[in-house]
């Protein structure tokens, strides 16, 4: 039974049950902390998300897209899913990703997004802005 543990986002905290044949030819459930090919696939999927987030952050900072685009990715959502969560059409959410439209959004709409993203409205508005210290 492979025991390749991956110290990444608590993956190593869980020992999964895997079925394996013992010496007597009988199947039993065995705890496995992971298998290398599986870990490679897990890590690759997360790396792709991190890369996308870094790319989107640059666009937010450059004023090309609104923070909604970044938080959507951060929460692992896509456009159809986010639209369902905020109760809007996809084209509306797409518009809200334009900085000029985002800046005009009502407090109510901003609160809706913030609650879906599990953050405050301030955090949503200030993403990518330089700290004024």
């Amino acid at each position: 039974m492979p025991q390749d543990s991956l110290e990444y986002k608590d993956r190593d905290k869980l020992k999964k049950l895997v079925y394996a044949v013992g010496k007597d030819g009988k199947y039993t459930g065995v705890g496995s902390s992971g298998w290398d090919p599986e870990n490679v696939a897990t890590k690759q999927a997360w790396d792709a998300i991190e890369e996308e987030l870094a790319e989107t952050m640059k666009q937010v900072q450059a004023g090309e897209v609104s923070p909604i685009a970044w938080y959507m990715q951060k929460k692992l959502m896509d456009l159809p899913l986010l639209a369902q969560y905020v109760g809007k059409w996809q084209w509306q959410v797409k518009r809200h990703m334009k900085p000029q439209v985002f800046n005009e959004l009502s407090d109510k709409m901003l609160e809706k997004y913030a609650s879906v993203f599990e953050i405050t409205v301030e955090e949503l508005k200030n993403l990518g802005k330089k700290e004024n210290t």
């Binding site: 990444y8 993956r11 895997v18 199947y27 459930g29 298998w35 599986e38 696939a41 999927a45 369902q84």
Partner: protein, 334 residues
């Protein structure tokens, strides 16, 4: 505040695990592999035009909810299932069920279960777990993929039960209401096996059952010419994740099903089932070999280590062997 005396056992897969645990709670001694086999849990599908987080959808198991439904029907167990129009109603009904001493199974989104490692937390909405108590305003959870029981805050559980996306759980929850004194395993095993063979071998569409393995093999062969290397690698990775990362018990549920065939063989004193079990274990090893080589390709991100052609061939091999395997499984005498 109430807590039900509930024996949590860890299992490979959430739905067959919850099914086995709930039935054992009612005094029916059933293993996870037995629940999985009677519920005809093993399957394969590859649907390139349905994208899940940007990658084509693949699955090694039947659709969510089917295992529990089939096991209860085949063993003549009475169960009650409910959906709700609001989180408030769903949580109230859960509180009442727990208060009444009923451990309750439910659907949830993995994304909103903070007790799971973050590495696993994607928007997957068909995760099964059991709530068996409430203590200091926290729910006591028996999640079959965990070694031990866990706790969850009511707000988190409500979110998980009312996640959006596909499928929407809508607070879906279920209890076992009545278990007969005697259950006829032989008949249930036979029905489960026949249904598995039917779903594997008969769908005329290329996306479902055994045919879909060949479809995927063809797609993989074309990845290097059709996709940028990075995307090809992510697509491959997704297959491995479906096969190994989520709770499949290894080799995309093939080992779990082989464990079922072995147990069924012992129970019914049939050597043919035992032999089929050993064969499926060998096929499972081939799936693992495919995953191993796919991961080597992903690590290198170059096409010269293990070529996509070779990966496609390995997968075809799995498809050919399973085709022969399920055909013969369907010819067993009952």
């Amino acid at each position: 505040m109430s807590t039900i005396e509930y024996n949590h056992s860890q299992h490979a897969h959430c739905e067959s695990g919850v099914t086995a645990n709930l039935l054992r709670h009612q005094g029916l001694d059933i293993s996870e592999p037995m629940a999985f086999g009677i519920g005809a849990g093993i399957f394969f599908a590859h649907i390139p035009f349905i994208k899940v987080s940007g990658t084509p959808g693949s699955t090694f198991r039947t659709w969510p909810g089917a295992i529990f439904k089939r096991v209860t029907e085949r063993l003549h167990i009475k169960a009650k299932a409910q959906k709700f129009s609001s989180p408030e109603k769903a949580m109230l009904a859960l509180d009442q069920a727990v208060e009444a001493g009923k451990p309750t199974g439910m659907l949830s989104s993995v994304f909103y279960l903070p007790y799971l490692p973050e590495a696993f937390r994607f928007h997957f909405n068909a995760h099964n777990l059991v709530v068996y108590g409430k203590e200091s305003n926290e729910y006591l959870v028996s999640d079959p993929v965990l070694e031990d029981v866990a706790r969850i805050a009511p707000e988190d559980l409500a979110k998980a039960r009312f996640a959006k996306g596909t499928p929407e759980p809508r607070g879906f929850m279920y209890n076992i209401t009545e278990v007969p004194k005697q259950v006829d395993y032989a008949k249930a095993i036979e029905k489960g096996i026949k249904q598995t063979v039917f779903f594997m071998m008969s769908p005329p569409l290329p996306w479902f059952g055994n045919k879909a393995i060949f479809l995927l093999a063809d797609k993989i062969r074309k990845y290097p010419t059709k996709l940028p290397p990075r995307k090809a690698s992510l697509y491959l990775g997704n297959i491995i994740r479906m096969q190994e990362e989520i709770g499949t018990g290894g080799a995309g549920f093939r080992y779990l099903y082989a464990a079922f065939l072995q147990e069924a063989g012992e129970m019914l004193k049939r050597d043919d089932l035992q032999e089929m079990s050993a064969e499926l274990t060998a096929i499972g090893d081939e799936w693992r070999n495919f995953a191993y080589n796919a991961a080597r390709q992903m690590k290198a991100r170059q096409t010269d280590v293990v070529s996509y052609d070779e990966l496609s061939l390995l997968l075809r091999g799995c498809g050919e062997k399973e085709k022969d395997f399920f055909k013969r499984l369907g010819k067993l005498k009952w």
